[in-house]
Subunit: 391 residues, 2 copies
Amino acid sequence: MGFDHLLADRTRAMDVNVIREILKVVSQPGMVSLAGGIPAPESFPMEIMRDLTSIVIDKYASKAFQYDPTEGFGPLREALVDYLRQKGIKSTKEEILVASGSQGVLDAIGKVLISKGDLVAVEAPTYLGALQAFTPYEPHYVRLDTDDDGLDPASLEKALDRGGIKFIYLVPTFQNPTGRTITLERRRQIAAIIKKYNALLVEDDPYGSLRYRGQDIPTIQSLAPGNVVYISTLSKVFAPGLRIGFCVAPELIRKWLVIVKQGTDLHSSTFNQALAAEYIAGGFLERHLPNIINLYRPKQEAMLSALDSHMPDDFTWSRPEGGMFIWAEGPRGLDMEKLYWKAVEKKVAFVPGKYFYTDPGEGMETMRLNFTMADEKTIDWAIKTLSECIR
Amino acid sequence: MGFDHLLADRTRAMDVNVIREILKVVSQPGMVSLAGGIPAPESFPMEIMRDLTSIVIDKYASKAFQYDPTEGFGPLREALVDYLRQKGIKSTKEEILVASGSQGVLDAIGKVLISKGDLVAVEAPTYLGALQAFTPYEPHYVRLDTDDDGLDPASLEKALDRGGIKFIYLVPTFQNPTGRTITLERRRQIAAIIKKYNALLVEDDPYGSLRYRGQDIPTIQSLAPGNVVYISTLSKVFAPGLRIGFCVAPELIRKWLVIVKQGTDLHSSTFNQALAAEYIAGGFLERHLPNIINLYRPKQEAMLSALDSHMPDDFTWSRPEGGMFIWAEGPRGLDMEKLYWKAVEKKVAFVPGKYFYTDPGEGMETMRLNFTMADEKTIDWAIKTLSECIR
């Protein structure tokens, strides 16, 4: 006799991570993966890691290895105040919470806010990791319309007007999966709408610093600070394996995020938070970020050129000014998952877009393409190969 | 208008961590704390930390800073197989999951198993951190009787016989808060009972390696491996700030622990897991553990002597062979929280025992005393001062 009868009801709503299942094929020898969403290892500041660990051990000694407050390591919270100010986000040390990756913030938000059956509004398509964080708390998802300029404010207002939305979850800048960025005009409209309805918006911003062209756009948080939980991470500008995410949140939400985090993991790694504190406060991040951008920009340009050169006329794709992804759409009726298995035979992997939608049957003809892991020549070959599979 | 109306129902069941509130007083200057449950910083192997980080950076390079599988860093899981074998626990790499502290395992267990209203059986008294992990999933607690030999097997059988218990949570060795250890005879009875009822038992073993006298006792996991989730941590034998816990679990439970952990924090810090892997596999843990034991043994002996010398006749206390805590009980009718505030005035802090009980009103006359943080002389002074407050 097994233990199936012991599983909590919530497990019925939870699927194994499909991207992960797909990535099993991806690890086959010789596979070129445009499927992942992970930073290139060459983007990590490996040349300073040894020095950073020395700095931390010298400066903090055993304190860097001891239990620490749930809210986060003091010097890191202080460093993040400056870091966020440069992004136009005003905060105090007390307003910043550190978590185990931005995933840790997303889980805590789900735990604090979602009772079974509650409504959570998300973009169509949206970030899969957020769904994986929220779904165990058994919400119903309300689908918000998007286009090339990101979330359609009218769709948001309609959803809020209907009522019962616990919170809205958005990735406004270089979205995962589409790479799209919500325009400033729309951000202003969204800020006005959430203020009008006293709604709570979760702004997830993992990619904002990875801008290859164009001008920074203000965060929605900066336009409606009282209504936004702003989340970001050091995974894309330092190292994802250190699992350092953080958020700025309205007071009541913040208080509860700390209480639930204490039950979830007590606090995030003190040592890694100390490394992050020195990485930011020591000016290393500021000096290293251009290297990351210079690494990714040509990869993204290579992918956009390859798409221009090779893709059939009935395909369209996003042209993001930053981030890690390009979103391509084929003609209606195309089943991108079929194409996926064909492409895998030719040693190219991507993620069929349907997995990023909460409504079944949507996005069948879409795909997410990542450009951070392969080199420019390989990207061109992979897109050419994909195009051949399509024809 | 605030956001109170947005909070999930579960927040109603969750209190702010009381120990934490008490620790606020503890940080006052000059306070001698017997309240905490944290390792002495002198127990950390600081002299090898720099070398360990070098070893990890040399050996794993960027891999130690990249995203990694949810299950845990391969070399750490391998090292833990050997480590657990020395503790009499047979496992394979695949059966071991790494988590963000043992707290991370406890949260995942709650998420996988507890639906609102489910029954979870715990010792009276039990570990507060486990309650903080489980309570957000809204269980009802079933109270199990304990005495100086730990859990009373008859009480367990009675609870299982009544039915509906999702799992049993125990700290069988040097329990937090009592320091008590379940005898081998009782462990055999408990193993037989959980097999008979096909029950699932969560065996939390953070302190098992901290034995100052006497012989190791087999884990319940080794007596009923198919019915036990065995949890341990490196927080007490390496460094708590690295947040490395782990578990060995039956297959179905393990599968679900991985799925929920993916939504909670994707995976635990790769870098810290690599440090832990090298700490164990390089023989550092084996060489360092005697230092930790030699640090704590005289502290514990000092506290036991001080209790013998100073405490009033109507007090009794546990005499653990290891761990971090001693449990003292005063006469019926004593309100230990009143004594707490008196003692704090005299600059001595401890934890009133009632906070470790799930039934309100129980344990009013009990207290938890920690001996890992103060030196022997201070421990004697603190116990003497406590005794004076009591009289």
